[in-house]
Symmetry: C2
Subunit: 299 residues, 2 copies
Amino acid sequence: MTDTIISSATREAVIGFERPFTIIGERINPTGRKVLAAEMKEGDYSRVEADAKAQIAAGAHILDVNAGIPLADEPKILAEIIQLIQGFTDMPLCIDSSIVEALEAGLNVYQGKALVNSVTGEDEQMERVLPLVKKHGAAVVAISNDETGISQDPDVRFDVAKKIVERAADYGIPACDVVVDPLVMPIGAINSSGLQVFKLIHRLRTELKVNTTCGASNISFGLPNRDGINGAFLSMAIQAGMTSAIANPMHTEVIAATLGADVMMGRDPDCMNWIQRFREAPAEGEGRGRRAGGRRRRA
Amino acid sequence: MTDTIISSATREAVIGFERPFTIIGERINPTGRKVLAAEMKEGDYSRVEADAKAQIAAGAHILDVNAGIPLADEPKILAEIIQLIQGFTDMPLCIDSSIVEALEAGLNVYQGKALVNSVTGEDEQMERVLPLVKKHGAAVVAISNDETGISQDPDVRFDVAKKIVERAADYGIPACDVVVDPLVMPIGAINSSGLQVFKLIHRLRTELKVNTTCGASNISFGLPNRDGINGAFLSMAIQAGMTSAIANPMHTEVIAATLGADVMMGRDPDCMNWIQRFREAPAEGEGRGRRAGGRRRRA
C-alpha cells in the first residue's frame, strides 16, 4: 500500500492504493487556449482564478498549474499564478512545466509539498529535476519515456519508470513520492493501447509499488464522443490499479466514471461521495451547496 | 474461448469471450410498467412493437421478451408477442419467464435457437427447464441461486453455477449453451457487491469457461444517477470478463460504457463500431441512418 501525500500550507491530498481516486484538474494550462494564453502573458489572471474555482467546485482534488506560453516569461508567470491561487484556496497544486527554471520558480514560492510535473527518464532531465524535487521535499510525476522516445512496448516503458524510481532513490526521494505516468496513447491510432496501459499500470502497482497518473483524455484523441471513451477508460484504468489522473473535472463523464469506479472498488463507504455528488436538489429551505456539479454536462 | 450462438431463422448473435459485448435489450417486460401490462393483457401489442424497434435502432443485439402479468394468460401472450416480433425483425430473442409453461409456449413458436431466461440451481426447476432447453436446441441463462436463496459468498454462488452447468451436461446441453448470471446485488446496500461480482465473473470465465450475463441495472438500485453507476459497472464488468448483459440500450450511458469497453479491450478494430455510433451528423446529402442513437440521452 503506497500513499503519496501532496499538500498546501493547510490541506493534504493523498494519492493512494486504497484511497478514492484523485483527480488533478487540468484546466489551468494555456496550451491550445489562445485567449487564456494572451491574458496570462499580459498579467491578467482572472480566467486562471475562475478556472481554479470552477474545478474545485466540480470535484478536483489537486490543481495542475501550467504557464507554458511561447515567448513569455514562464518562470515569472508560473510563480505569480501559484501565489495567486494559494491566496484564495488551500487546494494542493501540481507545478507543471517542461522548463526546469519554471519548476524552480514555482517551487520557490509554493507553500506546502507540491507535485512536480514532470521528469522523464532522460539523464539530463533527471540530473536537473530530481535534486530540485529533493531540495523542496516535493513529489514528482515520472513520465516513462527517455532519450529513445516513447516505446510501443509496455515492458520497455516499465523499465524506464523503474530507472526513474531508482534514480530518484539515489537523490533521496522515496518511491512513494514518485507518481508514474505510463503514457496513454490514442486508441484510435493504436488499438492495443488500452490493454497495454492496463497491463503497465498493474505492473507499476504490483512490482514497483508506485502510484500512477496519466493525461486521461489522450486515449480518445481523434475519436467522436471523447467524453464517452474517456469515461470507459477511467473506470477500467482504476480497476487495473491507476490511482490518479490529470483530467477535466468539469466533464460529468469524468466525475461519474471515477466516483462510480470508487463505488465499485469498495472505496466509497455507503456510497456517500456518490450520493452527495448526485443526489437530487433538496427541497426549498434545506441544505444547499452540493448541487453545483451535479447534473450539468460542461461548465 | 467460448461462443454461445443465439439465432432467429436468418440471423445469429454470438456471445463470446473475444467478441464485442452483447446487449440483451430489457424493455419488453411489463414488470413495473403498468400501461404496458394493461395493454398486453388486452392483446394490444403496439407498444411491444415500438419498444422492439427502438431497442434495435439503439444497438441491442438480442431482445429479451417477458410477458409476466399477474392474472393474465402468460403462455398465450408470450407466444403471441414472439410471433409478432419475429414477423418484423430477424433479431434473435431471449424468452424470459419464471413459468415453465410460458417458456414452453414461447419455444414452441420460436423460429431459431432461443436463449431461455432462466433456470436456477433449484432441483425441481432444473428438472423441468433443462429438458425443454435440450428438446428445442436452445441456450439457457443459469442464475446462481438455489433452494437456500442467494448466497452473499461469491464462492457459494460459483458452486451453484457449476452445479447447473454439470446438470445441463447430464441433459446433453454443452457448457457453451449455458450463460451464467452471477447475480448483481445493489451496491448501495452491499458495498462489496462490485468486487464480489467481478471476482465471480473472472472465476466463471477462467474455471467454468462459460459466458456470463446479468441484470446490469440492479447494481444501482436506490442510488441517484443510476445511469452513471450502471456505466462504470458495465465497463469494469467487461474488463473482468463479462460477455453480455440484460440492459436498456436506449440509455446512452449503457451504449457508451459497453462500446467504450470494447474499444479498450481491443475488440473494436479501428474503432469502427464506436465511430459509426458516435460520429457527428454527416453533411447534407450524405449517408444517414446511424445518427438516431448518437447523442440522445433517453428515447
